[in-house]
């Protein structure tokens, strides 16, 4: 199978706007790219974690003697071994490094072990004996609002009321609905892993880790280790996907502490099951909506109540709720709004960030309502969305005026106009029908449906957080090196950063250094669709500063003012013609080192009515789904997703397409198959056998169109593109299934029994 006509590795650097290939693409396809799970250090030990088997219990004692007695075990650590802060957290330190007095969810870490071999560590972990005294579990988020607190910080993570306009306004037509969404998992392919190497003097530690935000990990790890931040150095290793699940600490403190205790390098790698237990998930939501409109279809008022189950610890629940509420009515003009939303603590698995960050749940609610309203009004659902579409100058539910671009009407109209797939053949191949490889379909019982949904979402962090990224541009020995601690998790920042640097510097040969905490300041999190803007902006700023320095040096050499120099293409040219050289030639012999921090426009917290300019910028997308449904078996095949997306400007169109297709697949997963099943606080399907993510046979054709209206304030006008594809693809698919079946379908994922038996099985 070795291709004897192997082409040489292609070099095609690429500037802004081109579909440049990934710089890490070649090592990745060759299997040479080092993910955190691939790392190795001489003399390294392997770590394993002991986890709670109880939903809610007092821990009477932890007996580690049998674990210690296992030959090959080098360390066993528990809560009492944590030298610094016993707790950590993104927003508040409410999560124990190791549970001490109480465990609050199944899978909560209780101890960690380092041993010579991974199987020895796992065996020893199984020998730790924890004596539990079971406590009453709190599993129902409704009950959580009034139940005895299960944590000193209380049960309600956040209650966010939003009041806009006249709460007593009433529409001519009113539709009401209750909707629920299941707990989705990010299900990245590369499980949590890291390698910690202690300093020779034992006074610090270096951690190679897959994460979304190096500096916030460092700060939490340092606090728990009782070390100053500069004694904990993090380097990003290869990251096998993230999607929000790597925002929180998982094994970072454990592996560093094991390394410090044993004075040896320690590696930890989660199994898939442990990965399901060891990271946060998408919040399940219960939502009630009442939409009011005029007879003409103009939205008058939306009332809503949203309840998110945050699980045992806070994670980013506070901000997930802020987002769910901010976008609770979708990309529509609604003058009067009454929304109450809560995010609460339970003994269920902790929930936090996942691509779409609260907006996914709300979008299923508001788009289901828009379809319902269209039916009640006898109007076309696309037309109803168009006539209410939000745009620049309008205000969202939080009263914030949209000052940047937001071409929602164009997004909706263009999506609706994209070409439809051909009709289903009379005798299609079995694999092309719902049920696929199972050969279950009866062509006569397959019905096609078309559905539509739209969304808009904020870009970047919100509610007054001073969000920034840092980049450094160094020129030395004719080599340009960019430092930025932005976590590349697969999204393609490494490509974009180089494209921006090349564009600004007019030099093709640019090196992006590995991301770490030692060489450069924080880049913030790879989340919230923010890195193209924030770290892209920082790279642009640092490179612009470096370019200005180069020009000044060049001008200075011949005694010209820098204003006499022009950049023409990749050349520096002086008006008098004395200078005419390429930028690559211009940097010869120069030493430049420029660091820039990029901050976005300030945002503000909500007031007591949930009003305020809490967000920086917005991006929208719409999705039209075409599905084939087996009416009797309730099996669905998504044939096509058409989508137009508001991207500001596509810095790398191929990469944007990849984000769209990938996001659509995750939205399809939530619509049809992805759900962490939690029974009495226990996950029943913590494996890829039973947590189903879409396969190649489930992936629809995706037809996309990019709407490019450059966004003021964004580098090159580019908006983040990662999240909008996932947000409204789910409701569009459900809308299409409703069209095919006539069923209500108020929860996702839609299960075969919901369709075949009309939800009778689950009391829907």
């Amino acid at each position: 199978m070795i291709a004897d006509t192997a082409p040489a590795v292609r070099e095609r650097p690429g500037r802004v706007g081109e579909s440049a290939p990934r710089p890490d693409g070649v090592p990745k396809v060759r299997g040479e790219f080092a993910y955190s799970s691939d790392l190795y250090a001489e003399g390294m030990l392997w770590g394993a974690t002991v986890r709670s088997t109880q939903v809610h219990a007092r821990v009477r004692s932890v007996d580690v003697s049998a674990a210690w007695a296992t030959p090959g075990v080098r360390a066993v650590i528990t809560a009492s071994d944590v030298p610094g802060s016993a707790h950590y957290g993104l927003d508040s330190d409410d999560q124990p490094v190791f549970a001490a007095g109480v465990v609050r969810h199944v899978g909560e870490p209780i101890a960690a072990i380092a041993a010579d071999r991974p199987e020895t560590a796992r065996l020893a972990a199984s020998r730790v004996v924890v004596d539990y005294e079971p406590l009453a579990p709190l599993l129902d988020p409704e009950e959580s609002l009034t139940a005895e607190p299960i944590h000193p910080n209380g049960n309600v993570f956040r209650h966010l009321p939003i009041r806009k306009g006249d709460p007593d306004a009433v529409g001519d037509v009113v539709v009401e609905g209750t909707y629920t969404t299941g707990m989705q998992d990010q299900a990245f392919l590369g499980p949590e892993s890291g390698l910690a190497i202690p300093d020779d003097d034992g006074g610090g530690v270096e951690l190679f880790i897959s994460t979304q935000w190096l500096h916030i990990d460092r700060d939490q790890v340092a606090a728990c280790l009782g070390l100053p931040p500069d004694k904990v150095r993090l380097t990003l290793s290869g990251v096998g996907g993230a999607f929000g699940a790597r925002e929180d600490i998982s094994l970072q403190v454990h592996v560093c502490l094991l390394a410090l205790v044993t004075a040896r390098p320690v590696k930890m790698v989660y199994s898939r099951e442990e990965s399901f237990l060891g990271h946060v998930h998408r919040h399940p939501a219960r939502m009630w909506y009442r939409h009011h409109a005029t007879h003409d279809g103009v939205l008058v008022k939306v009332e809503a109540r949203l309840l998110l189950d945050g699980g045992a610890y806070l994670s980013s629940s506070h901000h997930v709720l802020g987002n769910a509420a901010s976008f609770a009515v979708g990309p529509y003009r609604v003058p009067n709004v009454v929304i109450d939303s809560w995010n609460v603590r339970t003994n269920n698995p902790p929930c936090g960030a996942m691509r779409g960050f609260g907006v996914v749940q709300a979008c299923f609610g508001h788009e289901s309502q828009m379809d319902k309203l269209a039916r009640a009004l006898g109007r076309d659902p696309v037309e109803l969305r168009l006539m209410n579409a939000l745009g620049p100058g309008d205000t969202g539910v939080t009263g914030q005026r949209i000052t940047g671009t937001l071409p929602m009407a164009e997004v909706i109209a263009r999506t609706a106009a994209l070409p439809m797939p051909p009709d289903l053949d009379d005798e299609p191949p079995m694999l092309a029908l719902p049920g696929g490889a199972g050969r279950t379909a009866d062509r006569a019982r397959v019905v096609r449906g078309v559905g539509f949904a739209a969304n808009y979402k904020n870009l970047m962090y919100a509610e007054g957080f001073d969000d920034f990224s840092t980049a450094r541009c160094r020129i030395e020995h004719g080599v340009v090196t960019i430092d930025c601690a932005c976590a590349e998790v697969g999204q393609g920042f490494v490509t974009i950063a180089l494209q921006i640097a090349r564009e600004v510097l007019r030099i093709d040969e640019v090196v992006l250094a590995p991301a770490n905490t030692a060489e450069v300041g924080s880049a913030g999190s790879t989340s919230a669709s923010r890195q193209t803007w924030m770290s892209g902006g920082a790279v642009e700023a640092a490179c612009t500063a470096a370019r200005d320095r180069v020009l000044a040096e060049v001008a200075g050499r011949v005694g010209l003012p820098v204003s006499d120099l022009d950049l023409r293409g990749d050349r520096v040219v002086s008006r008098d013609g004395r200078i005419d050289l390429t930028m690559t030639e211009a940097i010869e012999g120069l030493v430049v080192d420029e660091v820039r921090e990029f901050h976005h426009a300030r945002t503000h917290p909500f007031d007591e009515h949930g009003q305020g300019d809490a967000h920086v910028s917005f991006a929208g997308a719409a999705h039209r789904a075409v599905v084939d449904v087996d009416l009797d078996l309730g099996l669905v095949r998504v044939v096509q997703i058409a989508t137009a997306q508001d991207v500001g400007r596509a810095l790398n169109p191929l990469s944007v397409g990849g984000q769209i297709e990938g996001g659509v697949a995750q939205g399809l997963g939530l619509a049809l198959m992805e759900e962490i099943l939690v029974d009495d606080g226990r996950i029943r399907n913590a494996s890829f056998t039973d947590y189903l993510v879409p396969t190649a046979l489930d992936a629809p054709e995706v037809v996309w169109s990019l709407i490019e209206e450059p966004e003021p304030g964004a580098p090159f006008g580019a908006k983040g593109v990662g999240e909008p594809p996932v947000v409204s693809s789910t409701p569009a698919i459900v809308s299409a299934i409703r069209a095919a079946t006539g069923l209500d379908l108020t929860r996702v994922p839609v299960r075969p029994e919901d369709l075949a038996l009309g939800g009778r099985e689950h009391g829907l």
Binding site: M1, I2, A3, T5, A6, P7, A8, V9, R10, S19, P21, R22, D24, G25, V26, K28, V29, R30, G31, E32, F33, A34, Y35, S37, D38, E119, Q186, F188, L189, G190, P191, G238, G240, G241, A242, V269, R272, P429, L431, G490, Q491, G492, L654, S655, G657, G658, E661, G663, V664, A665, Q666, S687, F688, T689, V693, P694, T695, A696, L697, A699
Partner: protein, 171 residues
């Protein structure tokens, strides 16, 4: 360990030789239950095959065993003695790429890349058996390789472009 019969019990570890990418590798001190994936990654330093589920559900660890595409996590390493094992490290010329690998990069089929080595193996296996697969045949052939980033669209494009370039080269 060669030929028939039992590997002698050298409690608790085994030593044997595996033929990987045309070269014999000595494995020392392996646990009897070690999968081929674990031995490749942890003992032979061949970390291109990825571990994402250890139950044959994701295809990230795909290798060829006597020419057949399998999940190396489901092969007991000690039983792969005497068999030809081909991993992602063994398919491309030094410092070069196979046409499939090149197409994966060019068509944007790589994001986080964790599934990529397994997909490259699966696509080569497909095209060796079927040089001109239909869209459905391609989907079926790689349905055992989960990708969480791309939604598969760019991967299909990479298969199509490989097929097209081979056809052009042949004509």
């Amino acid at each position: 360990m060669t030929g028939t019969g039992s590997i002698s019990d050298i409690e608790p570890r085994l030593g044997y030789s595996l033929r990987v990418n045309g070269r014999d590798h000595e494995v020392d001190g392996a646990w009897v239950g070690d999968s081929l994936l674990r031995v490749l990654r942890d003992r032979l330093g061949l970390s291109g095959s990825k571990n994402a589920c250890e139950q044959g559900e994701c295809g990230s660890c795909s290798v060829r065993l006597d020419g057949r595409l399998v999940c190396s996590c489901l092969v007991l390493a000690a039983t792969a003695v005497g068999r030809e094992i081909t991993t992602i490290e063994g398919i491309a010329p030094e410092d070069g790429l196979t046409d499939v690998q090149d197409a994966m990069v060019t068509e944007g089929a790589v994001q986080c890349g964790f599934c990529t080595p397994g997909l490259v193996m699966a696509i080569h296996d497909l095209l060796d058996r079927n040089p001109a697969p239909t869209a459905l045949e391609t989907r079926e052939a790689i349905s055992g390789n989960l990708c969480r980033c791309t939604g598969y669209g760019r991967i299909f494009a990479a298969v199509d472009s490989t097929v097209a370039s081979r056809r052009d080269a042949a004509s």
